[in-house]
Symmetry: C2
Subunit: 384 residues, 2 copies
C-alpha cells in the first residue's frame, strides 16, 4: 500500500470537500491511467465529458486522479478523490460511487479508503466497538471466544441445550449459525427464546457472562421485528450478514436506539468481491472498513489455513481495516473462524494477540466427549 | 448447460420438497466431486458430518449431489438439490444457501436455478412483467426505449428540462441516472417533483405515454418513503439497485400494494459476482433469475460491445434468465445499456428482437443538436 497521506493533509481531510480511495489497476502505466480516468467519470457523472453543457461545475462533481504510482505487487495504484457531496452522505450511494458501475469492468480493485473525517463524521459507525464490547462482556484484556449454535436441522430445544453447554464452558459469544433463519424445524421465535433462556440459566449456574447472539438476517421489513424480539428475550448481541440484506440495513440496525445491541457481521455472499486479486474489493476495505462504516462491532471471516482460502496477508489486511483511523469511528474486532481448532490456539495467539474474537465451531465437539470441558480448554489456552 | 430435467420430474418439481441448482466446478472429476460434496454440507449444516448426533435427519436437511457431468466449457457440472424447508421461504436465506459461504471458496460458480414450482410459488415475483409493463406503456409489440436523466451535478430544473425533451421525443421510460440519490445540487424531492411534472407536461403536449422512473435506491428505512413520494408525484415506475440495498429490499418494494409500480433493476455493485468464469454467479442467474425472483420487471445490464465487457453469450444468458419458466413468475424485460448508440440499432434488433428495452444514454445528445429529433430517430429505427 503506498504510504502517501491524503492529498489534502497529513492524515485526514478536515478542510476540503473530497474523500479518497486507492485503487489498483491492471496493465501498464498508460492502461492504468486510462482506467483511472475512466473511473473518475464512470463513478460520478457517467456521461460523455465532451457533451457536458457549458458552465457545468466539473470539479465539484467529477472524480479526480490525484496520483498514479507503481505500488505493491508491481501494479499501478491510483489515488482518486471524489466530491463528498456526490454521496448525499448515504451508504448505498457511497458504495455506488466507490465500486458501482466499475464492478462491471475488469482490472480495477478498490484497495483502501483513506481516512476522511468529514465523511465519516456523518455516520455513527459501531455502537460498541472493541472497548464497548469488552465492557458488555466484562473482559478487559484477554482474547474473546465465540462459537456457533448448530447444525440447522436440530430442534430449538436441542440447539438451546448446546447453547447451555457452551455458556457453561465460558464461551463469551454464543451465536446462531448464520444458516439458522426461520425454518420449521426451529422457528426463529422458539429458537431465540429457548437459547436465550438457556444461556441465562448457564450464566446463573456458572457465574460467567456469556452473550447469546441470534441471527437476525431476515426479509426486508422483518429484520427489525426479529431484532426487537431477540432483545426482549435477552439476546446480548445480534448476528447479521450485510451481503444478504445490504450494508445499510446493518447500519440502520446499529443506529437503532431501541435495539442498541452489539452487531457481529457475517461474510456470507460477499466472497466474490474479494476472491480475485485484480478485481473487486480488498479484504481490508470489505471486511474491515466497510463493516465499520456500516456499524458492525466485529467482522467474521475465515482465517488462513481452515476450510477456506484467505491468506495470512489477507487476514492481516482485515485486522488493519478493523483498526486503522477512520475519523471518530470505533475500532472493531476481527473475528476469525472457518475451521479453527484448539490445536491452533498457540499459533492464533501469535498471529492476533488479544484484540480478537476467536470463532470455533465443530472442534468444540471433537477433542473430549465433554463439550463444557473443550470450551474450558480453549479458554485456558488463551488465558495463558 | 446440461439439458437434464429436474431430478424429480420433467420440468419442475411439483411433488417433492427439494429445490435444485446447477453449479460448475474447477478441477478434474475427483476434485469437482469433492467440491460438490463439500458444498452440500457447507451450504446447509456447516458442521462435521462425523459429529452429527445420532438420529439426525440428514436427508431432510443436507444438500445432495444428484448428478455430476462433464458439461459445457469442458468443466464438471453438478446438479445439487437442497431441502426447501432449509430456506424458511425467505430470499436472504435462499441466497445464503445458494452462494453464501461458498462465495468464500474458489472454483465454484452458480450457473442455473432449475424451475421449482413449489419454491417459486411462495413469492410474488414481478408485479408487472413484460406483459404488464407493455400495458402500462400502451405499447403492445415494438421494442421499448429508455434513457437516463443525467449527469449528476445538474440542478433539478436542468434535469427536468432534459426529461421533458426525452418525453417529447417519445422515449418510453425516462429513468434517473442510478447515481442520482439525494445530493445537494438536486435533492430527491425537488428532482422527482420537477422531472415527473416535466414528463407529464410533455405527454400532454405530445400525446405519448412516457413514464418517469426515479431512482429510489436509498438508505434502509428511507427507500419506502421515497417510493411513496415518487408515486405521489406521478412517477410511472421506479429504479432500484439490489446490489446496493439487498435483493430482498427490492422484493419488498415490488410486493408493496400501496406503491404498486413497475421496477427497473440496476446492476450497480454486482459485477464482481459475474466477472470470473470460474467463480461467482452466472449472468443467467444473477441478472435474470434472481432479479425476477426479487420482483424486478426489467433487468438493466451492459450490452456486449459498449463501455463494458459482457460478451454476446453473457447477454443471451441474461435474456434466457429473464424468460425461462420459473413456476408462475412473470417473464421480465432484458434492458441492455452501457454505451448503446443509434448506429447500432439495426444490430441490436437482430440480437434482441422486440422483447427488450433499449437503454440509450449520451448518444441521444450526439447525433443532432436537437435531442427530441435524436429520440425520434431512435424510435423510428425500432419501428421499422
Amino acid at each position: 500500500m503506498p504510504e502517501q497521506p491524503h492529498p489534502c493533509g497529513p492524515r485526514y481531510c478536515d478542510d476540503c470537500d473530497r474523500f479518497s480511495a486507492w485503487y489498483r489497476f491492471t496493465g501498464d502505466e498508460a492502461e492504468a491511467r486510462a482506467k483511472a480516468l475512466d473511473l473518475c467519470v464512470e463513478q460520478t457523472i457517467e456521461f460523455p465529458v465532451d457533451l457536458l453543457p457549458e458552465g457545468f461545475p466539473a470539479t465539484d462533481v467529477i472524480g479526480r486522479l490525484e496520483r498514479l504510482e507503481n505500488g505493491p505487487g508491481d501494479a499501478w495504484w491510483g489515488l482518486i478523490t471524489f466530491p463528498m457531496s456526490d454521496t448525499g452522505f448515504e451508504i448505498p450511494q457511497i458504495l455506488n460511487m466507490l465500486y458501482g458501475n466499475i464492478s462491471l469492468k475488469p482490472g480495477i480493485r478498490l484497495e483502501m479508503l483513506k481516512d476522511c473525517m468529514r465523511l465519516w463524521e456523518k455516520f455513527k459507525g459501531p455502537r460498541f466497538g472493541q472497548e464497548g464490547l469488552r465492557k458488555q462482556l466484562g473482559v478487559p484484556q484477554r482474547a474473546l471466544l465465540a462459537t456457533a449454535v448448530k447444525p440447522m436441522g436440530l430442534s430449538a430445544q436441542e440447539l438451546a441445550d448446546r447453547a447451555y453447554l457452551f455458556a457453561r464452558g465460558g464461551i463469551d459469544l454464543i451465536k446462531d449459525d448464520h444458516g439458522l433463519a426461520n425454518q420449521p424445524f426451529a422457528t426463529f421465535e422458539e429458537r431465540v427464546n429457548r437459547c436465550a433462556s438457556a444461556v441465562a440459566r448457564a450464566n446463573h449456574d456458572s457465574g460467567y457472562h456469556s452473550l447469546y447472539v441470534p441471527n437476525v438476517t431476515a426479509p426486508a421489513g422483518e429484520l427489525e421485528r426479529r431484532a426487537k424480539f431477540a432483545k426482549a428475550c435477552g439476546a446480548g448481541a445480534l448476528l447479521v450478514a450485510p451481503g444478504l440484506v445490504g450494508f445499510d440495513t446493518m447500519r440502520r440496525l446499529a443506529d437503532d436506539d431501541e435495539i442498541g445491541l452489539p452487531l457481529l457481521a457475517h461474510p456470507s455472499f460477499l466472497g466474490s468481491f474479494s476472491s480475485h486479486p485484480e478485481h473487486g474489493i480488498s479484504h481490508h476495505v470489505l471486511y474491515g472498513q466497510m463493516m465499520r462504516l456500516a456499524g458492525a462491532d466485529a467482522s467474521i471471516y475465515p482465517h488462513a489455513g481452515g476450510r477456506f482460502t484467505f491468506s495470512e496477508s489477507d487476514c492481516h489486511a482485515i485486522v488493519a481495516g478493523c483498526q486503522v483511523p477512520m475519523g471518530g469511528l470505533e475500532k472493531i474486532f476481527p473475528m476469525p473462524g472457518g475451521g479453527m481448532t484448539l490445536k491452533r490456539a498457540e499459533e492464533l495467539r501469535r498471529f492476533y494477540g488479544n484484540e480478537v474474537i476467536y470463532l470455533v465451531g465443530g472442534d468444540l465437539f471433537r477433542n473430549d466427549p465433554d463439550v463444557v470441558k473443550n470450551c474450558e480448554t480453549f479458554r485456558r489456552l488463551l488465558e495463558k
